[in-house]
Symmetry: C2
Subunit: 211 residues, 2 copies
């Protein structure tokens, strides 16, 4: 109903559809100000879209929130998670380490500002908006699942011992990364992130068979 064939649909706006322009602005704003603290008017001003137009493309602010979540997730999967696990022949543990470095690099690039978009939304909305909570829980589950899969493969290959419980380790990896990002965001000190990633790597080595 809303999607059109490329050029058609909404009028061009820097080559993007109106919907895309709104999404881009809102994603940026919500990343730093949070969902509730981002006023619709701010999004409108930033994207140059009128109010009526906004409500033509989105049912409500909540609707926009869900769309943003989808976009953040897609971008995370494509740009951060997937690239590290793309090679099916690659060694799982190395892939996980690659992923850790990539997350660290993201925080460095962003100058410790913004934290994790998913983590932020989780902290802000989990206890207050069941719909968002459920959606966020699914996202984290998918993320954890990707890591669990890698760890299972690592076990199959003997890269880690049988004492490694993939689900538990994956949960912990996600948790400690989220925590590290949060702590980095408060302290505004990238060294915190570096140290944490370093310790996560040491933790992972725990499961490698003794050489």
């Amino acid at each position: 109903m809303t999607t059109k064939t490329a050029t058609a649909g909404s009028r061009a706006r820097d080559g993007r559809t109106t919907r895309e322009a709104i999404l881009a602005a809102a994603t940026r704003l919500i990343h730093v100000h949070g969902y509730n603290q981002t006023a619709l008017d701010d999004v409108l001003r930033e994207s140059g879209v009128g109010k009526g137009n906004f409500y033509y493309h989105f049912k409500s602010k909540e609707d926009l929130g869900y769309a943003i979540l989808d976009q953040v997730v897609a971008s995370f999967l494509e740009r951060t998670l997937a690239p590290c696990f793309s090679d099916p022949a690659g060694r799982p543990l190395a892939q996980i380490r690659c992923f850790l470095d990539r997350v660290l690099e993201t925080q460095r690039e962003r100058n410790c500002v913004g934290g994790c978009p998913l983590g932020n939304l989780a902290a802000e909305l989990s206890d207050v908006h069941e719909g968002f909570r459920t959606r966020l829980a699914q996202v984290f589950a998918a993320w954890r699942e990707r890591l669990t899969e890698a760890l299972r493969e690592a076990r199959r290959r003997g890269e880690v011992g049988d004492d490694c419980r993939p689900e538990a380790v994956a949960d912990f990896l996600v948790a400690s990364l989220e925590g590290a990002i949060l702590l980095t965001k408060v302290t505004k000190d990238i060294a915190v992130m570096e140290q944490c990633v370093g310790e996560i790597k040491r933790y992972l080595s725990l499961y490698e068979p003794r050489t």
Copy 2:
């Protein structure tokens, strides 16, 4: 300026001062709804205090925020952190493990609702309110310092090896705990917290000399 001598000052309200009543209600509300999303009127209704009275005791909502932060910190230090490290003769690693269990227990009691008050505020305000950010950073530093101290003592006693860098390990402990609490809050599954605490303990054992 604000503190009074026990019974004196404001009139009694269930044996508490007005200030205490406001603080208690606000702390509860902010814990689940966040700082910005907690309306002053909600705090007023919940505490049964009038608006004029509120502004007699607090300069602004921001002022209340700082007071709450102080209270949350005090309660955390006294009720969760300090008890585990009270015995100067106790073994540091055991004290840290005791603390981990205590945090887990707190989440269980709260039914995975609310998350960590400090973590929530950190996520919500770090990038948006420099004053709160600085204050929160100090709090986390103090928390980390307490753990660093225990780890240094552990090293002195030979409970952990020289490869254990107390500051880095303390940072990581705080981060992974915060992350675990957050993930538990999204999933509403205490098993996540249990698994994470379990993995943190395994991680700690990494530094114990081989038996």
